[in-house]
Symmetry: C2
Subunit: 357 residues, 2 copies
């Protein structure tokens, strides 16, 4: 079986054309399902394609057409289940439409974020879905604009002409805090991400508003903003529980933080909810199956991915210059058993069973 092939051993459109005794244009037409091809010719070409195992070279196609049918996905850490779920949801929509997802993690570090934008400037995906962490001094926004491709921001607020999909984390933290306030708690700690990233800032805002509503003061030391790392939550919880007047309740302001809070609470022997009430922002197996099950402010994580993918498709289908869309997902409180009224004496140490009559 004679056939000439490219250096990598794959046959090219030329090989097919030669073997089928047609011009390359014709092969291109059958590959792209162009209507004006004689059925007989089409069949002959298709047979040759099958015989040679010809696969159109997407690189060459992209070079010609200037579209890669590729969507970049940039997040701080793709190992984080939050982003993994979102990626999964987005790719479940994009993949069947012929788009391939190209991922990159930034570690939330500015330098890497810039690097990654550079990579995508060179690779020319058709669109970008991203969550950038480093604050904006205009450099990032400019870099994004230079990309000249549809961009969808996730859970972040970087001013610019791009679509954005996010969760009302302020609302989530607000409801969580109110719930605790309503139970009679006053020393409520909030552990969450740095205020420089939207979810962190939003939660602080919701928390603060809940206190303001009751005309109650916020104690600054009870606000622990730093990162989404469970170890951060562990350290902060330990530190909080070691205070002379430990908080009677903690809001874990991030999907991954609950694990750190529970671990530290366990180590400190702080019984939940008798000695310490806990609310988590973000529902997980852990929140549902912990003892007791943890009250959470939950939202539809995957919906972020779905909305982002749909925004991308909308742009790519021609609404390229429509006004930036902005979708905000609601957060809802699910009351479980991790919250109780605060213990009056020996705050943070009391044992509910012992104290009850």
């Amino acid at each position: 079986m004679r056939r000439r092939r490219g250096a990598d051993g794959k046959s090219t459109i030329k090989d097919v054309a030669r073997a089928a005794k047609v011009a390359v244009g014709t092969v291109s037409r059958v590959v792209n399902a162009h209507p004006s091809v004689d059925p007989a010719t089409r069949q002959r070409v298709e047979r040759v394609i099958a015989r040679l195992g010809y696969e159109p070279n997407a690189i060459a196609q992209s070079m010609r057409t200037r579209v890669t049918r590729t969507v970049g996905f940039v997040v701080p850490d793709i190992s984080n289940p939050n982003w993994a779920w979102i990626l999964g949801a987005a790719s479940r929509i994009l993949q069947p439409r012929g788009y391939t997802v190209v991922v990159a993690s930034t570690g939330g570090e500015r330098a890497l974020e810039l690097d990654v934008l550079g990579v995508f400037a060179r690779r020319r995906p058709d669109a970008l879905i991203l969550a950038l962490d480093s604050g904006d001094d205009g450099v990032l926004a400019r870099a994004l604009r230079q990309l000249r491709m549809p961009i969808v921001m996730m859970e972040r607020e970087l001013p610019g002409p791009w679509d954005a999909v996010m969760t009302d984390h302020a609302g989530g933290a607000y409801t969580a805090t109110r719930h605790l306030l309503g139970l009679g708690h006053r020393r409520i700690a909030l552990i969450t991400a740095s205020e420089r990233v939207r979810p962190g800032a939003q939660r602080v805002q919701g928390y603060t508003r809940a206190f303001a509503d009751e005309q109650l003061p916020v104690e600054p030391d009870l606000l622990r903003c730093g990162s989404f790392d469970p170890d951060f939550a562990f350290r902060e919880t330990s530190s909080l529980l070691s205070r002379r007047d430990p908080p009677t309740a903690i809001v874990a302001g991030g999907i991954q933080l609950l694990a750190g809070v529970l671990r530290a609470a366990g180590l400190h022997g702080a019984a939940i909810p008798s000695a310490l009430s806990v609310v988590s922002c973000g529902d997980t197996d852990l929140a549902q199956l912990a003892s007791p099950p943890v009250t959470v402010a939950r939202w539809d994580v995957k919906a972020i991915g779905v909305a982002a993918a749909e925004a991308v498709l909308r742009r790519l289908r021609g609404a390229a210059s429509a006004a930036p869309a902005r979708v905000v997902l609601e957060s809802e409180l699910v009351v479980r058993e991790s919250c109780a009224p605060p213990c009056a004496r020996r705050p943070g140490r009391c044992q509910a069973r012992i104290q009850s009559p």
Copy 2:
């Protein structure tokens, strides 16, 4: 500032050459850090590049050089934390080396797997890291071979000339089962993935071997192979606990399965470990923080990603035709508090505290 640009508004190597008054070849040389460029010329070109915001078009580069600096990553479900961790670990190695990871989920469905392989046949990544689920009738293996690129299989055993990295799940299940057997359990259930995928098959094998070692018979109905979906574990656990002679212990043979097992056990009021002992294959926050903490057979999930990435790099660095490497990671038992000797009477219902002297 005059400058001609491509249709997408990006300047090309030609624009740079024109503006710097050099030939495109020279621009190419400075971009690729070729040594033989006069320093003065280099500087002039670099300035123009900065001024025009020129970014080499990776598509065109790939077309010429036939390398994409891209690695495909194919798994059943990228939302699954197991794969997300592995992807994270792999990309943490690949990204700094200039490789971009392209992901695709297959849902474990044959048709999609074939689709995805087709996509990658066209996109021409430099290598592929994958976990295929559908059994092999030779079609898949042939498709992979036609790809003519380095391939690394993860957690799967598909015969062929590719590297493989996997975990000794048989060993994990064996140790877990022995542990239970040693405690005196005899009716031990195993819930795991379908036997058609390696982790499922391996766990059944380890479990069976543990019984064989003790010359004990395996009761087939206690083997529940089906999927890695927590809902599957939930259903099977419910079904098992509804038996007239429910198992006294359950091995959750998959990282995600523990959640389903615990949920069902909770609903059935089966206290752990007094009424039901539980071992999980795969360590998680849930296993560590459940009450009681769950004994697990654990292994280093990320190491799979690291090993896969390293295998890819090794091939890409020239060891293209070395014999297929095969790395097997060990699994280790971490005893926590979810296992106790089986309850003698009223199996599956007794309360440990009531029975102890």
